[in-house]
């Protein structure tokens, strides 16, 4: 079983680093649905997966300046507060509902992604006054377009609020809820999708760390499961960061959709019939 977990973790780290999701989205359903593990250990393993994807991917994304470090650090106020809230709610809420909420949340993300799949870069974004004050606007070199892409940041307060929600979900489900973070930055704050993905990657580690302490002490992080997950994810994330920069933004959006829909359906079924 260790080898299978290791291989799946490589895939999770790869996809997670591409899309800014942290891989918990793959680890949690695979461990519970395929391996029949208790959700408690699956969530513990996925928290580890999220942190590994985040740190593993951030090393490259920050060096290549895709990550907007200032946006990330600012929004972390919301995500960390939310993560504490969520970790404690998880002791009260039934896993059955957890699956169901998780599934619906993914389906929602898929629809949002399809809606925006035609756009390569955001256009005519007016910077938010707070974004200017805090120096959040940025630029990155796009390896596909072969030019510097300068961008403005808007919707700062709404984005911060959505990050609190994303943090609550991550504490509840043991995922970094990277999708929700990418959505908030992409949809509400109008960052380019590559920047949203890389910045989400940067942030999810901190969000997950906020709840990981709780899970660690609670005994949810089982070494024989978490070790192959951590190692596999780190390998997958290292490869993923190289590939992501060479993909078109439109392609990146399209990769999101099937991953989301598939996992969403699986989880809703589990939430309705088992739990």
């Amino acid at each position: 079983m260790a080898l299978q977990i290791f291989l799946i973790a490589i895939a999770a780290g790869f996809i997670g680093s591409l899309l800014g999701l942290g891989g918990g989205i793959i680890i949690t359903p695979v461990l519970t649905l395929l391996f029949g593990l208790d959700i408690k250990y699956a969530i513990g393993a996925s928290v580890v997966s999220v942190i590994a994807t985040s740190s593993g991917a951030a090393v490259a994304y920050i060096k290549d300046k895709i990550t907007n470090v200032r946006v990330g650090m600012f929004l972390e106020i919301g995500t960390t507060l939310g993560a504490i809230t969520g970790a404690f709610l998880s002791a009260i809420i039934n896993p059955k509902y957890l699956f169901f909420i998780f599934g619906l949340f993914l389906l929602f993300s898929a629809i949002m992604m399809i809606k925006k799949s035609k756009q390569e870069l955001p256009q005519n974004v007016k910077p938010h006054p707070v974004a200017e004050k805090l120096g959040l606007n940025g630029e990155y070199y796009d390896k596909v377009l072969k030019r510097e892409v300068a961008y403005n940041v808007t919707g700062v307060y709404g984005g911060l609020g959505m990050m609190y929600g994303a943090g609550v979900l991550s504490g509840l489900l043991g995922i970094g809820s990277g999708i929700f973070k990418v959505m908030a930055m992409d949809f509400h704050m109008k960052l380019p999708i590559k920047v949203s993905s890389a910045t989400s990657n940067f942030m999810i580690g901190v969000t997950a760390a906020a709840s990981a302490g709780v899970y660690f002490l609670r005994g949810s992080i089982d070494p024989k499961i978490a070790a192959p997950v951590a190692l596999g994810v780190l390998i997958g994330a290292t490869v993923g960061t190289r590939i992501m920069q060479r993909l078109k933004s439109k392609t990146l959006r399209l990769i999101f959709v099937p991953v989301l829909i598939f996992t969403s359906v699986e989880m809703i079924i589990k939430g309705v019939f088992n739990g």
Binding site: I77, L134, V214, A226, A227
Partner: protein, 120 residues
């Protein structure tokens, strides 16, 4: 803040993450290899320690599970450390707004660890 300083901050953050990742990967790998080769976790049945002190005692006794958990603890602490380092970096660059922002995040993180301990 000039571009140059911003780049320097990002470079230090990226490097500190790299050190954390490599250190945790190596330690986890060693522990996991020991576990797979010997087939012994160092603890009875399915038990594994969750108390850091107990884990360090296990490392001293070369127990595979304790070594893995040490690697995982480093992994979990890496993002926290990254936030801590950022506070110092922003303070050095006299970027007080971001010194406060990162300090707030750091405090929230510490509180979340303490709450986890209390709840247990």
């Amino acid at each position: 803040m000039s571009n140059n300083n911003a780049e320097q901050i990002e470079s230090v953050i990226s490097k500190s993450l790299k050190i954390g990742v490599i250190l945790s990967a190596v330690i986890t790998l060693v522990g996991f290899a020991m576990f797979l080769i010997t087939g012994n976790s160092g603890y009875p049945d399915k038990f594994f320690p969750t108390d850091p002190l107990q884990i360090f005692a296990g490392v001293a006794a070369l127990k595979p599970y304790a070594i893995i958990l040490t690697g995982l603890m480093i992994l979990i602490l890496t993002p926290v450390l990254r936030v801590g380092i950022s506070i110092i970096l922003f303070l050095k660059e006299k970027d007080y707004k971001f010194t406060v922002i990162t300090a707030v995040v750091f405090v929230i993180l510490i509180i979340s660890f303490l709450l986890g301990k209390v709840e247990q």
